[in-house]
């Protein structure tokens, strides 16, 4: 029995004891094939999945290496069934290959004709296939490359894609490292992506995903389409690219509700892409308007369904997905992986924090009591209105006021879901509010004022959940949210994670009504962060009023 840092469980999870001296070495060894599931304080949980094992195969690791690694670091005997399963799963990879054939176009080739017979009989595969060429080869409709890869994956026979990517129209892009340096993990992420061809990079909020995008563009040296969540984010990308790369203003276009520029590097919003005119998507042509060499999806966890469908058709182009929180409450994570590509890079938030690239943060849950009358009306409220009722309770207003007062002088964001509540808070606090109806121009003015310190407090709705760079914000106060959404909580915390110039700790307050579903939702919302090792401290509203914290 070795005394390793890893415990291999019979349900294919791997528990990594991070207080063990070998933990870093072990983490590096298992990262290529195991997926990080949770990374709280003491024990990190990884999981062996077919997808992860196949990715490892694709990256050149074989089953023997995986098994050796497991046995080497394992504290107890590795369950035999897992070793068998690893070997079996990995041996399924590569029996089918997608290749480009000079005569037949895209073809599916096998080394094991029984497998081919099995898959071509599958209902989901049949319509994607062309003519049978010989016993071991069959033609595939070129437009169905993404679809067939996805369906084969579901059948458990992943196809190795040798058909390659189109290079796209070449365009010279380089990183311009003057006065700043790309961080090691960013470089690893970009390289991991480039070697894999396509895929998703998961990095904490504020860890500089834009730079990873820029580095990927520098690898591709080709025209690039960047899809982002909204116009503000689009402008931020543009500024960042101007600052970090050799691109100049004329080379970067914005394709949004306001402008329709198509340039070698074009930044488009999801919103405009999914806008329908007379029942058809009017702007999907953008995908074909240039011979794009790279497509970047920012905040890929928000990717809307129509884009999913369209993404399936452009499998010959390189695709990079960027996100901090690949948890979708709609369970579409699998779709993201199969259409954009598998996860190429992932790192625990706390690890980046310990390297100093994101600010350390403290999470505090403030519990407020409903008054007697509020409790009674809550108890009798219709089920569908309950959350709104307890999330917008009057008492929260006082707590927010007290917290803002306590942090006087710091940059504070008050974030909420319900517009009436936000309007009320903006009035009470005497600060402006940014919500869906605020014009882009005004938003930018307000954000700029906030960045410059002219404004210290800002009330924002969910429009500021993502992609908004507010480097000096140190305090976020969340008053309500989209029910139990885990990624929203993480994204909101992300707003204050940019490293501070003075190395200050950020504080994230979540104001919650006690003994209501607000509290239940809060628990679910906190799960993702708790699994990343952010431990919530719970305090009482009275402590805030009495200045005890």
């Amino acid at each position: 029995m070795t005394d390793g840092p890893l415990i291999v469980q019979s349900d294919k999870t791997l528990l990594l004891d991070i207080d063990h001296p070998l933990s870093t070495e072990c983490r590096r060894a298992i990262a290529p094939f195991a997926e990080l599931e949770r990374s709280p304080e003491h024990i990190h949980t990884y999981r062996l999945t077919p997808l992860g094992l196949w990715n490892a195969r694709a990256a050149g690791h074989d089953a023997e290496q995986v098994i050796d690694t497991l046995i080497k670091y394992s504290r107890y005997a590795v369950p035999h069934s897992i070793l068998i399963d690893v070997a079996e799963t990995m041996s399924r990879y590569g029996r089918l290959r997608l290749e480009a054939d000079p005569v037949h176009g895209l073809i599916l080739v096998t080394t094991d004709s029984a497998v081919l017979e099995e898959v071509i009989r599958a209902k989901k595969i049949q319509p994607l296939l062309g003519a049978r060429i010989d016993k071991e080869t069959i033609a595939v409709l070129p437009s169905q490359r993404g679809q067939i890869k996805q369906s084969l994956l579901r059948l458990g026979w992943p196809a190795e894609d040798f058909a390659g990517y189109v290079d796209g129209q070449a365009h010279d892009i380089a990183l311009k490292e003057d006065g700043w340096k790309i961080r090691p993990y960013q470089e690893l992420a970009a390289e991991g992506f480039w070697h894999g061809g396509s895929g998703v990079v998961v990095l904490p909020c504020g860890a500089g995903k834009t730079i990873v995008g820029a580095a990927a563009m520098a690898h591709a040296k080709a025209t690039t389409l960047i899809l982002v969540t909204n116009t503000v984010a689009a402008r931020q990308w543009r500024e960042e690219l101007l600052k970090r790369t050799s691109l100049n203003e004329d080379e970067i276009g914005e394709y949004s509700g306001a402008k329709k520029e198509i340039r070698p590097v074009t930044i488009a919003t999801y919103q405009v892409m999914t806008k329908k005119k007379n029942g058809v998507y009017a702007h999907l042509d953008l995908f074909d308007s240039y011979d794009w060499g790279l497509i970047i999806y920012d905040e890929v966890h928000l990717l809307p369904a129509p884009i999913f469908r369209f993404t399936a058709d452009i499998q010959s182009r390189r695709r990079l997905g960027l996100t901090a929180t690949l948890v979708r409450e709609d369970g579409m994570e699998g779709e993201v992986f199969s259409l954009i590509g598998p996860k190429r890079f992932d790192v625990p938030w706390k690890e980046i924090e310990s390297q100093g690239y994101i600010a350390p943060a403290e999470c505090i849950e403030v519990r407020v009591n409903l008054t007697e009358t509020e409790r009674l009306s809550y108890a009798t409220a219709e089920v569908e209105n309950r959350y709104r009722f307890c999330a917008t309770t009057r008492t929260k207003r006082d707590v927010v006021e007290a917290l803002v007062k306590k942090h006087q002088g710091e940059q504070i964001l008050v974030i909420g879901q319900y517009i009436d509540q936000l309007d009320e808070l903006s009035e009470v606090l005497g600060v402006p509010v940014i919500k869906g109806e605020t014009p882009v121009k005004e938003r930018e003015i307000l954000f700029n004022k906030f960045r410059s310190g002219e404004l210290t407090t800002l009330v924002v709705s969910k429009v500021a959940n993502f992609s908004i760079d507010l480097p000096d914000a140190t305090i976020a106060i969340q008053v309500s949210g989209a029910f139990g959404s885990r990624q929203e909580e993480a994204q909101r915390l992300g707003r204050i994670l940019r490293p501070k110039s003075d190395g200050r700790t950020a504080t994230f307050y979540s104001v919650v009504s006690r003994d209501t579903i607000d509290q239940d939702f809060a628990q679910n919302r906190q799960r993702f962060l708790a699994e990343q090792g952010y431990s919530y401290k719970i305090i009482d509203a009275d402590d805030v009023f009495q200045g005890k914290i």
């Binding site: 019979s10 528990l15 024990i43």
Partner: protein
């Protein structure tokens, strides 16, 4: 010529010892004399059992012997098999499947029946002399026919025997084929053996096939095995703890229902076949019992078992598994009808035998994790089965699977624990090799706790109560949630106790959210109270309530006041009202919906009416029925008359009935079957009346003598116990 009983009389004690240890059924119970021993040894069940114990080569030699005419010699067997036959023949003799008579080797009388009429696909011997050398000059069509028949079955059908094709007719003419009936021809034995190149079998499987598999490192095997051992012990304990909490209901037909099995399997985190195996293990080791209300619960033995050392606990499970005839692998197979775990349909006669064989093959091949096809080949050589061979393969593969679950094997190869267990040696080494238990957990802020190794029993039980197990293996991951904390509170823990326990057990400080979670749940727990009551009394006038509470005459009602205006009582509403009325109160009934029940009551039965039936009358049969009955009676009468008449003649001619003992009967019958003589027997009918029959014995099968009765001319079966005596004519 010596009979089998003569031969037995001539052998020494050593030979008996060998015979009896190979065929224990011959001495259970001990036969009174050699004659009855011989009869038992020649009975088809005993022969079949002895044949089952043969390996493939021994069986081939036996088949070859059956293809020869008696008496035969070793030389003649070697000629049609292989030089190695001598050894196999010795074995066959030692277990009484072949015996040396004074004129050569012979087979026990019923052996041919057990093997079948066409040993190794060979037809009967030819009656006419055939010139085998002429077969070379057969026309092409004839050769084609021969090719079809050569490896058996030796029968072929032709359109019409009088007008066969050119090939068949040539063969018939030269006696290379013999007509069997209107449409069938048969290839005589000599011809087939000649065509087979003078041998009986196409291939002679003289040596056991080599077992292919993966070579494993011994250390890894033992490591894996010890992990399996600790896992199986944990499974059993977890299962029984679960049943102690929530007993499953047994099905009316016995066993666990599909749904319950599924619940158990999610609970244990293993698949359903493994769950079935664990439940069966617990059942075999009497750790569970099924009570009068069909609930499956741990027995007292479970408590004793828990106190034993791991090695003793494991030994209890493994040794019961080793000898059982129950096969948990049969549970819940997709292709067959559902068989329930713990149910009555799991017994298979050959289960223990195949299990023992599987384990001995593993033992003979240390450090090899067998490859399944190769393993099946070895099993098939060691125990060639002629019927239902798929079950044997399955039994063997299930044994491999279960041996792995039990830790008798590790990584598919036999472990040192398995070897020692099978040898019956001391297993305390298990206790030393099991991973050391840990006495602490690590609580993390995502409301999980991790036990980084096997937990001490007491702690794991406590923790299982207050958290859900999320992942199992070397370590255990527990998750706390509102529901699990509530469960602990329901078990009588208080919030403070839970907190104190976790603080004490956890190596890491208790995260605040968990502390709040416990506090929140325990604050809310028990705010609503629920209980059973038979009736209630309510009154808006609280003074009246106080009055009845203090009324001595109502003490019998044992009232309990649960609210100022509500009193509950364990008597039913009618009784309560009667007693209240007797004491001078004026209660009125109230329905559960709160409606006052007044007015006259007229009761109605809730069951369906069942009027009595009319008896004593018989329906008059129809004319057709009657005439059919008469016809049947007349036909029966005619044939009875004829038979009686014939038997009378026989009886008069022969006088007294023969009388022999059962063993003599069998001995004589066996002898005369081979000599093809007619016999005179006494035979008892259903009423015990003994009649005299003249018969030509044909064969003995399934406890009956098949013979042609001279009186009726028909082949009939005579049950052997009813034969009162036999005499040759």
């Amino acid at each position: 010529m010596q009979s089998f009983s003569d031969y037995l009389r001539s052998v020494d004690d050593d030979a008996f010892l060998k015979l009896f240890s190979a065929r224990p059924d011959l001495v259970t119970p001990v036969p009174p004399d050699i004659a009855s021993l011989a009869v038992r040894a020649c009975s088809s069940p005993s022969l079949a059992r002895a044949i089952d114990s043969l390996n493939q080569w021994q069986f081939q030699v036996l088949e070859a012997a059956a293809a020869l005419n008696e008496p035969f010699s070793l030389k003649s067997i070697v000629a049609i098999t292989d030089k190695a036959a001598a050894q196999a023949l010795d074995h066959l003799i030692s277990i009484g499947l072949v015996y040396p008579s004074d004129d050569g080797m012979r087979l026990p009388s019923q052996l041919r029946d057990v093997i079948g009429n066409e040993p190794a696909g060979l037809g009967p011997a030819s009656i006419a002399k055939v010139k085998l050398t002429e077969i070379e000059s057969a026309p092409a069509e004839a050769k084609k026919v021969l090719e079809r028949l050569i490896w058996g079955p030796p029968r072929g059908s032709v359109g019409d025997i009088k007008n066969p094709g050119p090939g068949v007719s040539w063969l018939l003419e030269n006696k290379f084929l013999v007509p069997l009936d209107q449409r069938t021809v048969i290839l005589p034995r000599e011809v087939a053996i000649h065509l087979r190149g003078g041998k009986v079998h196409k291939e002679r499987f003289i040596v056991q096939p080599k077992l292919n598999g993966t070579k494993r490192d011994e250390r890894q095997i033992d490591l894996a095995a010890i992990a399996n051992i600790s896992t199986v012990l944990r499974w059993v304990e977890e299962l029984l703890n679960f049943w102690a909490d929530e007993p499953s209901d047994a099905l009316r037909a016995g066993g666990i229902g599909v749904r319950d099995l599924k619940i158990l399997s999610t609970r244990l985190g293993v698949d359903e076949s493994c769950t079935a195996f664990i439940t069966e293990l617990a059942f075999l080791s009497s750790l569970i019992s099924i009570d009068a209300e069909d609930r499956i619960m741990p027995s007292n033995k479970f408590d004793i078992w828990l106190m034993q050392t791991p090695s003793d606990r494991w030994q209890v499970l493994a040794s019961q598994w080793l000898i059982t005839s129950r096969v948990s692998g049969l549970v819940g197979r997709a292709d067959t009808k559902n068989v329930a775990a713990l149910g009555p349909e799991l017994d298979r006669v050959n289960a223990a035998k195949v299990r023992a064989l599987t384990l001995s093959i593993l033992q003979e091949n240390p450090a090899i994790a067998p490859e399944i096809n190769s393993f099946n080949e070895v099993v098939a050589w060691r125990a060639p089965v002629r019927r239902n061979s798929s079950l044997q393969e399955e039994l063997a593969s299930w044994t491999l699977r279960e041996a792995e679950w039990l830790g008798i094997t590790g990584q598919g190869a036999i472990s040192k624990y398995g070897v020692e267990f099978l040898k019956g040696e001391d297993l305390t080494v298990i206790n030393q090799d099991l991973p050391k238990t840990v006495d602490h957990i690590l609580i993390q802020s995502d409301n999980t706790a991790i036990a980084p190794g096997p937990l001490e029993h007491e702690i794991s039980q406590q923790l299982a109560m207050m958290a859900e197990i999320e992942s199992r293996g070397g370590a255990t991951v527990y998750r706390f949630s509102e529901a699990t904390i509530r469960r602990a509170l329901d078990h009588g823990k208080t919030g403070d106790e839970i907190k104190a326990f976790l603080t004490k057990t956890s190596k890491t400080p208790m995260p605040q959210p968990l502390e709040y979670l416990i506090a929140d749940v325990s604050k809310k727990h028990g705010k609503l109270r629920v209980g059973n009551t038979t009736s209630f009394i309510r009154c808006e006038d609280t003074t009246l309530i106080s009055q009845i509470m203090n009324d001595k005459r109502l003490e019998i009602l044992a009232l309990r006041r649960i609210a100022p205006e509500v009193v509950i009582c364990d008597h039913d509403a009618t009784d309560t009202m009667r007693i209240l009325r007797e004491a001078g109160y004026l209660p009125a009934g109230e329905s559960t919906a709160g409606i006052m029940l007044t007015g006259p009551r007229s009761n109605r039965a809730l069951t369906k009416p069942r009027p009595p039936r009319v008896i004593g009358e018989i329906e008059i049969p129809t004319a057709e029925n009657l005439s059919a009955a008469i016809r049947a009676i007349r036909t029966g009468e005619k044939s009875t008359h004829k038979q009686t008449h014939l038997r009378q003649i026989a009886n008069e001619a022969l006088g007294a009935l023969p009388r022999t003992t059962a063993n003599e009967t069998m001995d004589l019958v066996n002898r005369y079957i081979s000599e093809e003589k007619s016999l005179s027997i006494g035979y008892a009918d259903n009423n015990g009346a003994v009649t005299h029959r003249i018969i030509d014995p044909i064969r003995v099968s399934a406890g009956a003598l098949i013979a042609r009765d001279h009186a009726t001319g028909e082949v009939q079966s005579f049950r052997i116990p009813r034969i009162t005596g036999v005499a040759p004519l």
